[in-house]
Amino acid sequence: MSAVLQVEHLSASIGGQQVVEDVSFSVPATGVTAVLGRNGVGKTSTIKAILGLVERSGTVLLDGEPIDREPTHRIVQRGVGYVPEDREVFTALTVEENLRLAVRDREPRRELVEALFPDLVRRSAQRAGTLSGGQQQMLSMARALLNRNRLLLVDEPTKGLAPKIVTELATALQEAARTVPVLLVEQNLQVIEQLAQDVVVIDGGRVVHTGPAAELLGDEAAVRRYLGVHAEQPPTARRSDDDAPGAQPPTARAAEEARP
């Protein structure tokens, strides 16, 4: 299968310090490819390096064309949608203004976004800063889904959210992934199981494993080695910054925090 994105020997640094060492992987032209790894291994930095949001070197090809020397806005204009970690909606702008700002296509997919996130329609005049964490995440995802992209880069969309919202977001992503390939950073193993066909595991700024998602999730020892978590671990209670705290599926993050 052809790849929509090829990353070769990508390294990145922030403030002069190298945070991505030498990362190579490719993203197939369909489906969801998940990026896994413990906290702080460089997942977000890898995404940001692809987008040119941090200083980077190496080769990045989008549909075979190099984008590693282009400024961020050009890369995005080529059809790369970005849903950043921590949402990064514009809090001083209304929901509608956030969406309007994100429109690049002549005919944005308003109906799709409104069908996926009806809550946003009701709140279109509300300032994004007053939305709950889950609603902000939906807005952040809606911004990316408005345009017909060639690739979506989605960074921990379920982080810190209540189970009900996690399900809703995962469903929206699944829907989106039917028409656009997605590179998804995610720590929630249930979400990965539901969505991802392939995984890329990063550790210490390098890729340590690539392969089918099912294969990795089925290998308890590998999951434990790479992520420090049991795939079959019972749900752990975890605080959430959304409306209701509740039971959560196991995540690498929860396991890290639980470690002595």
Binding site: H73, F90, A92, L101
Partner: protein, 291 residues
Amino acid sequence: MSITVLLLITGLGLGALYFLVASGLSLIYGLMGVLNFAHGAFLTLGAFIGFEVSRAVGATTWPGFAVAVVLGALAGAAIAALSELLLIRPLYQRHIEQVLVTVGLGLVTVALYEGIWGTDPIFISGPAWLDRTTSVLGANVPNDRFLAIGAAVAVLVGLVLFLKHTRYGLVIRAGVENRAMVTALGIDVRRSFTLVFTIGGAAAGLGGVLASQYFGYVSAHLGGTLLIFAFIVTVIGGLGSLTGAALAAVLVAVPQQFANYYLGIGDLIAVLALALVLLVRPSGLMGAKAA
């Protein structure tokens, strides 16, 4: 009573001049993270160009004054746009160098203006109405105060409408909050850098023409003097906030006038106000929010 009214309106007039400088400073800092020390140079150029064209057209006539206002603002806009394109843009993301360049530009332009127009203040005249006074509650208020206040209010309203209702305004408001995310939506945020410089330069150039009427003279140091207080206003208002700058301009200039009249310590009051705000609300009255 009449002296209170006079000081109040004169203070508002001074605040109007501060705002015309501070509005650009605040937007430029809010969006680009650059403290623009060359902003006074934009104002001074506006004042000198206004002086020259009104002299050519007829300094004491309204057409002469109107042309001075328009060309003064255009001159401010032009020098600001050129500064951004030629000096600031090549240093993209190198903030310290950018600030140093603006400091250098501020110094060089003063020398340049002195070379062209001399080191002595040039006393100017305008339409006769501006030199007269209007009686307000028994106070004889010079008419140029009203002109400055009216112009500043018009600029404030115009800028707020622009920020709220245009695509560029939307980009600027978003950029003030999170510049990287604006580029990550596929928007070339550098274009709006040139735009805020141009808008800020136009407001400063207009401020230059009005300031020369307010003070009655033009000099190479006109902009530098106002710039210091405009910086204070910008910080008090909250870097990046336009309405904050408007509010702070009044809160600095009015007490400054009163303190000057009664105690002779107006400038000290401005600095004390700055210190107070920095202690109580370090992010300024309105934080970082473009409108």
